[in-house]
Each structure stands twice: as C-alpha cells, then as structure tokens.
C-alpha cells in the first residue's frame, strides 16, 4: 500500500515539475509551447547516454563492451560496483543533472532565436514538431538510448540496496519542492509581474522599457532546463529509458490539461489540477482490470478520456478550478514586503 502511494507521489512530483514549468511559460509569460516533451526527451537521452558511460570510464570497464550494445551485461557489472560506492553514485546523478541543465539551457537559447519570432500559433507547431523529430532521433539511434527497445540505466541509489526506490523517490520529492519554491518566488516577485505584462501586451511592455525578446528567451531557456531535469528524474525513477514512451500525449498534452483544469496563471491551481489528474490516471490503471473484455488494449482509452476532459474543460470551465489572483496592494505590502499601511 505504501509502495503504491509512494509510486503515485513520484508520478505526481514529475508531473508537477512539468506543469509548473508550463504554467511559467504559458500562464505567466504567454509562450505557447506545445512541445514540452522536447526538453524532457533531451533529459532522458542524456540520462541514457551519460552516467553509464562515465561509470564505465571510472571503473575502467573493458572498452570492448559498449553500454548500449551490451547493456544488460554492463549494467549488472556497474550495479555491483556502484552498490558499494555511494559517493560515485550520487556524483553521477548530479553530473547528469548539471549537464542536462546546461545542455537544455543552451538548446533553449538557440531555439528561442527563430522560434520566438513566430506568431503564437506557429510557435506551438514548431515546438510540437521539434519534439516529434527528437522522438524519431531517439527511437532510431541505438547507441543513444537503445533505440526502440530502450536501455537500462544505472541506479544512483543502488547503495541503499532494498530501499533504493525510496532513495530516488525522496530525492525527486526534494527536488520538486525546490523547483516549485523557485517558481513561486519568481512569480511573486516583480519579475512575475513583468512576465504577466509580456503575456498581456508585448508592445506596451517594450514601450515601458522592457527588453521583451531577451526576457522571453531567458524564460524559454530556463524552462527547458527545468523540463530537462524532469526528464532526468523520470528516467532514473523508471531505471530505464524507453524513448518510445515519451509521447506528445503523455508528456505534452496531459500536462496541458492539468494546467488548464487547475487554472492557468495560478501555481496553486496548477498543483491541484496535476494532483487530481494524476490520481485519476493511477486509478484508471487499476480499473483497467474491469475492462479486459474489450477487444483492444485499454491504454487507448486514455487519449480519448484526455480528449473528452479537454473538451469539457474548454466548454464549461476554461479558466480552471482556481483562477488567477489579481494583486491586492494592501496584502502585498503587509505580507510580502512587511510594510505597515
């Protein structure tokens, strides 16, 4: 039972990272990004490619063996070595995260130049296609992430032996809390206000002295880095990377629904939305057993459910459960700035 709850919690954390970042991009800044899975896949690819090979280097494992081609063998050797070496294990985890943050930030920065010039609808399409292209690359390239079959990766908490799953879980929870807090701090600061102004009226924001293009680029790069972290954490929580599993439905459209249902522009609302939908999806997996009589794989009911939920939300509650809270100056002065009115 506890394992089940813990599993849901990890799932919730990963999706929280994604939806909070999405809210930062769309809810606050107005950057319409339908290709959230693009940086997530980058994170997953780096996780598939890097830590295993670095570990191989550290332990001087026979260079005739390839991490990808001889995956099972190499991973079992590394498992033995790493399970008695917590320092190297954790270092590999942090190395992966740091490299992912850097790579994603740079890629976000490079993409921002052409992409942010596009009108809002084509930006969304561009991001979607970028993600799809990366999926193609990931699934076809065997040496990156095992191609279609996927690849097993090292366990950075293997030294906890039986409790390794709790290790990675607690790490994910901590990191999620940090990421949510960072986003909350930014959103409640003058920068959050600035982002909203860009969302409302870019031209006027420029005409009051804000370098809109530079700020949007920074938002995109930052968000890419955060989503990359999400990808890394997801990969480690699965102990394997199967790029085929990072579909636009699971890692772009579901987070969009979570944000819309919760309330665009409101971080607490987004958390609520993520939570309720994560619970719903996990319950569905259990409920699957009642539908085994159907002549098709029940996973295909998920996209239909997602579609119906999106449709209902768009028609009946487009603003979500919790709408954006406007600033109340007295509260702001008392609570945030600790001033007497």
């Amino acid at each position: 039972m506890i394992d089940l709850l813990f599993d849901i919690l990890i799932f919730f954390c990963i999706y929280t990272i994604i939806t909070i970042s999405l809210n930062f991009q769309q809810g606050y800044t107005g950057i319409f990004n339908l290709g959230l899975y693009f940086p997530i896949i980058i994170g997953a690819l780096i996780t598939a490619f890097l830590p295993g090979r670095v570990a191989m280097l550290i332990y001087g494992i026979n260079s005739k063996l390839d991490f990808s081609a001889n995956n099972a063998l190499v991973v079992s050797i590394l498992k033995l070595k790493l399970s008695s070496d917590p320092i190297i294990s954790i270092s590999l985890l942090f190395l992966t995260l740091i490299i992912t943050v850097l790579v994603c930030y740079v890629i976000g920065f490079l993409i921002a130049y052409p992409a942010l010039k596009l009108p809002v609808d084509y930006l969304a399409l561009f991001m979607l296609c970028a993600g799809e292209s990366l999926r193609v690359i990931g699934m076809q390239t065997d040496w990156l992430a095992g191609g279609v079959m996927g690849i097993i990766i090292i366990n950075p908490f293997g030294w906890l032996k039986d409790f390794s799953y709790y290790g990675i879980g607690i790490f994910i929870i901590l990191l999620t809390i940090i990421i949510v807090l960072i986003h909350q701090k930014i959103c409640n600061s003058p920068l959050g206000r600035l982002l909203k102004s860009i969302r409302e009226n870019e031209l006027v924001a420029e005409c009051i002295g804000k370098n809109v293009n530079k700020i949007k680029r920074k938002v995109l790069s930052f968000s890419f880095a955060i989503l990359g972290i999400g990808g890394v954490l997801h990969a480690f929580s699965m102990s394997a990377v199967v790029i085929g599993g990072y579909t636009r439905v699971d890692f772009s459209f579901w987070p969009w629904l979570m944000m819309i249902v919760g309330g665009t522009g409101n971080n607490l609302g987004v958390l609520l939305g993520t939570f309720s939908l994560v619970i719903m999806r996990r319950i569905m997996i259990i409920a699957k057993h009642f539908f085994l009589f159907l002549p098709f794989n029940i996973v295909w009911l998920e996209p239909i459910l997602l579609a119906l939920l999106l449709m209902f939300t768009l028609i009946f509650k487009p603003k979500g459960i919790l709408s954006e809270k406007p600033l109340e100056i007295k509260k702001y002065m008392e609570k945030t700035l600790k001033l007497k009115t």
Binding site: S197, N201, L203, I329
Partner: protein
C-alpha cells in the same frame, strides 16, 4: 492638489537653446504610401510642444518613429546628442523618451497598481537571479509603491488601485496611460491624445500638473491633441501636420493666426 513629488524638484535652469530632440528629414513609408515626408523639427528642453493636424496626417506615425515602434525609411532622430534612429523601443525608453497610446493599451488582466509598478527602469526584482531573494528588491518596491501612491493621487485613481485595468472606463484608462508615463520620469514624454474623453475640469488639472513637471524637472512634452480649446494655453510651441508633411510651426499665437490652418481643418 500639489503632489509631494513636485516639492522635491528644484526649479530647473532652462538652457534656452538646448535641443532635446532633433528630427531631421524623417520619412516613413508603407509600401508606396508616405505616412511622413521629410519632417524636420526640434524640441528644446522644458518645452510643451503641441502636434496638431486632421486625422491621418501622420501624428501617431511620428510618435511611433520617435519611440522606436516604427523604423523610418529616411532621416535621423537625435536625442540629447545621441542618434536614436531605428533603436528598439525598450532602449529608447531607457534613454529617456516614453509615450502613451492614442487608444489606451493597459495590461488588461493586471490591476491599476501593477500597471503602474511595472513602469520602472531598474527594478532589481525584475532580473532573474535577483528576483529569488526578496531582500534584494524589497527596498526598491517600497520606493516604487510610495511613488505610485503619489501619482495615483494626481491622476485621481486612488480608489481603483486594486481594480483590473479591463474594468476601467475609457477616461480612466487615459488617466492610467498618463500615470504610467509619470512613473517613468522621462526627459521627453510623447502624449497621444492624453485628455481625450476626460472632463474639462480634470483635463485642466492634468495639464496644469504637466506644466508644473516641466518647470520643476525640465521635462519636455510632445502632445498630440484635438481639443485645442483646452490645451492651447499650456503650450509653448505648435507644429501642424497635414498628410505627412509639416505645414506650419510657431507659437500658439502665430499658428492660430495662420490662414492655412483653417484651410486644412475645413477640408
């Protein structure tokens, strides 16, 4: 109704011939249509300059060129000796020119307070890294909020401080536009129909306040307005635009006497 801000300013020594803004042979084309043709004019410091002309004569286009929203095809614009032609709007604001919009463009889903607080040039809380630590921007926010309260008193929107901009009336939006500019403390303010839709009493109050700012800080104003009956008495110089050309310039007395003005407006 004298704002505390003005008591801070000292009476500015006017260098009579110092040109703040110089426009040289400016032309702006849209396809084959010339919105502005060969415009040359200058605005000295501490001057309220009026720009008039019938609809479609290019007044807003001129403001757009100065503020960087449009890039002119020909000509140059100098501000305080610096060539600002073709610079992007955010740089021009930082250099010291701000503008309002003919049809008010507020940040609709933000409150009046937020609309005003955004108009600051160097808020440390607006940088990515600094925004994470409240201590780095608390002080500046307090300073901004004080300034905002003063300006709210001036434009008369104190009771609307927490109202979303989209809920304001047309006249109130104009006041908000003005408020934004006042927050920015620019050396040159371009006002596009600032008193449109505002009752004459309040309009006079605002113009009187603008004159006080000019006297206290040496700020110059380029105002596009149609309500000549109200504004003429506050104005130092007038330029007349007609179909993209500058057809007359002079003091209010000189221009109102010119026959051409009546011809233009009667067409």
């Amino acid at each position: 109704m004298v704002s505390p801000i003005l008591s801070l300013g000292k009476n500015h020594k006017q260098e009579k011939n110092k040109k703040l803004l110089i426009i040289e042979n400016l032309s702006k084309r849209f396809g084959s249509f010339y919105a502005l043709q060969n415009i040359s004019l200058s605005i000295p410091e501490a001057n309220i300059v009026l720009l008039i002309g019938p609809n479609g004569s290019g007044k807003t286009t001129l403001i757009n060129c100065i503020s960087g929203v449009y890039i002119p095809e020909e000509g140059k614009i100098w501000f305080n000796g610096q060539d600002i032609t073709g610079k992007p709007p955010h740089e021009i604001v930082k250099i010291g020119i701000s503008r309002s919009f003919q049809i008010p463009e507020p940040f609709k889903k933000l409150t009046v307070a937020e609309n005003l607080l955004l108009c600051s040039l160097n808020n440390p809380g607006e940088s990515f890294l600094n925004s994470l630590s409240k201590n780095l921007w608390k002080k500046y926010e307090k300073f901004l909020i004080d300034k905002m309260f003063n300006i709210l008193k001036v434009i008369g929107l104190e009771d609307k401080i927490d109202t979303l901009a989209e809920e304001l009336s047309g006249g109130q939006l104009k006041l908000l536009e003005l408020g934004r500019l006042l927050m920015l403390d620019s050396k040159l303010m371009l006002l596009d129909e600032p008193i449109g839709g505002i009752n004459p009493l309040l309009a006079n109050e605002i113009l009187f306040y603008i004159k006080k700012i000019k006297d206290a800080f040496g700020t110059s104003f380029l105002i596009v307005e149609h309500r000549l009956d109200i504004i003429m008495k506050y104005v130092d110089y007038v330029h007349v635009l007609f179909r993209g050309n500058l057809v007359a310039s002079g003091t209010p007395e000189e221009v109102t006497r010119k026959k051409e003005l009546y011809d233009i407006y009667l067409i």
